[in-house]
Symmetry: none
Subunit: 368 residues, 2 copies
């Protein structure tokens, strides 16, 4: 199943690594994973187990001192794992990090400091958050996820049409509404307690992975916990690499993922954009005799005309050029999609030339 390729020669696909996530990530080849999803801990503050970057222990003495020392330690921790994550990420890869107001501002600033390029931040709205019992603040009803590419110019993956389909045909927004993980989805340990304090819902990962990965991609999760990332990745035909320090979590995650069945490839096909379809030169319509040189095209609004020339360019009144150039010139617009702009006459009716392009594309791609 995990077939090694020249691009990713030694990746431990679909396994859970143990130990510290920085060391584990540094043991992987650089530029090798497509996506990173990270749910880092943020309860390092004000705890007895707080350590400085040099590993000396921090004594909680006075509030102020403790707070700033905690922030410094947390920043060092964040820089450390993000640097290692950045190293293993492919140049066109992306990262998602989830957090709350306790830690997300440290994470976001560090991401930017390290050259990651924020694409969106996404709010997970919880339908059933825990209320604020003391009535001293607002109900903490959301968490924040930052989506960032490795650097500014990266060609990150975004399945726009699939996300639009998931949202009933309108563009997916930056606020996602899901219930927190409860019920039978919430894993229990051998003692009958909840197995992990911050288990994320699979619905969240489903949307995230559909939107920013393709089947066969490799998703790394350096804070694997009980393996939600691995379970959803497996179901959706993506590879995962998990890293988790705690033996008990690794055990529970492994058993969980073993129960997951991958979906058949047909179910994994998603709606694609026209951008991904093969390019058809307009001249091909002329070469194939679908349109004849000398024939006249009309704009969709009926206001403009142009004649087809033998080389697949158009001749308008005072302008000659491609279907796009002539359309743009007529409309006084910075650009124009000539395929949807121009129409021709058949049996008295006006037909978009895009119909002819689609005929050619249908011949090129085998229908399923």
């Amino acid at each position: 199943m995990a077939k090694p390729t020249p691009e990713a020669p030694v990746l431990p696909l679909d396994t859970i690594m143990s130990g510290d996530c920085v060391a584990a990530m540094n043991s992987l080849p650089e530029n090798s994973v497509d996506l990173i999803f990270a749910d880092p801990p943020y309860n390092l503050q004000l705890r007895g187990d707080l350590h400085r970057p040099d590993n000396s222990r921090v004594d909680a003495v006075d509030d102020h001192w403790d707070q700033f020392e905690s922030l410094k330690a947390y920043d060092a921790f964040t820089r450390g794992w993000l640097k290692a994550a950045r190293r293993v990420l492919k140049p066109d890869g992306a990262i998602w990090v989830i957090g709350s107001y306790h830690n997300i501002y440290r994470v976001g600033a560090t991401l930017q400091d390290q050259g990651f390029w924020i694409l969106n931040d996404v709010v997970w709205r919880k339908t059933n958050p825990m209320p604020n019992f003391r009535g001293k603040r607002l109900t903490n009803a959301h968490e924040t996820m930052i989506w960032a590419s490795k650097s500014e110019g990266s060609k990150y993956t975004f399945n726009y049409e699939a996300m639009k389909a998931l949202n009933e045909g309108v563009q997916m927004r930056s606020d996602w509404t899901f219930p927190i993980c409860t019920g039978h989805e919430r894993l229990k340990n051998a003692r009958g307690e909840k197995a992990h304090p911050t288990q994320k819902p699979e619905s969240l990962l489903h949307r995230l992975l559909i939107g920013s990965t393709n089947p066969g991609d490799v998703v790394l999760d350096p804070f694997f916990g009980t393996g939600t990332t691995g379970a959803v990745a497996t179901m959706l035909g993506r590879h995962f690499i998990g890293i988790e320090r705690e033996e008990e979590y690794r055990q529970i995650a492994a058993e969980r993922i073993a129960r997951v069945r991958s979906l058949p490839p047909a179910a994994l096909e998603v709606s694609t954009s026209r951008r991904t379809e093969p390019r058809v030169p307009f001249g091909q319509l002329v070469e194939r005799g679908m349109l004849r040189p000398g024939e006249e095209l009309q704009s969709g609004n009926g206001r403009h005309r142009a004649k087809i020339r033998a080389d697949g360019t158009l001749a308008g009144e005072n302008i000659k050029g491609s279907i796009h150039q002539v359309g743009a010139a007529y409309e006084g617009a910075p650009s124009c999609n000539g395929w949807t702009y121009w129409h021709f006459k058949r049996e008295g009716k006006s037909v978009s030339i895009d119909i002819l392009r689609q005929q050619i594309r249908d011949e090129m791609i085998k229908p399923d």
Copy 2:
């Protein structure tokens, strides 16, 4: 009206100061204001022009006040005004800062670095955000507000019951839904253009001030713009101090506030909640695992079948698309309500998928 008290002897209440906000704040007595609301420049880094699909040009926020040379320069700016803000804030005062992913992580980290104590972050969900015209990212449908007290132990103001009342009797959550500022509320300058590129809606400030100030409190806004904070504060019987560099904005804000009449709070409650049934995308049933990709649906009349794909679209015999599109195609109808058309099998019985939609709606019956 602005009666001087020993605690606030020389505050220029209900006026708009000119000049740089740091200098202006430093001219005020320390520990003197109850609340600060700040809408600092976001440091958007926009490249070229952006056009809508209809070729119209988007009016970008390219004002000189939003230009910074680098992240470092923006950080220095942020530290500077936050330090001055901290100085004038009463020990039990609080601050709100609004921003987007471009700047909010810098702001949040700096707040924490300076000893502010984050109480909540609040998401402003826009009902009518600008879409992502190129289909390259998610719709940027929210902005983030950070609410922080001056320090960890501060006795900040929070009108829990008032907020609960604003939210139809249930605890106010950390996600607030309001439209962006348009229509009559949007101020115009003498040239008939929008007076300010980033005018905030009064509804947002209304909720914020009801929640974290009391009548008679002093609210400072160091980036006053066209004075939304001042207008709402005045309306709600709070004092304001505005600081604004641009003469034109000060002028427009002063005229605006002069038109405001303080009203009894009871008269001000506007219905901000939308009581229409929330739209549930079919894809959410898949994300939530209520239906599985690959699973088959049948039409209610039993004549047609289609398989569910991972992005919430259906694959029929020769057609792919939404539940509505595939249903319409099978029936040869111009449209089709897929929710009532399609059924799935559970324990041998055929069940309408609309049942699942109702389950999700039942979870979502929240005012926002």
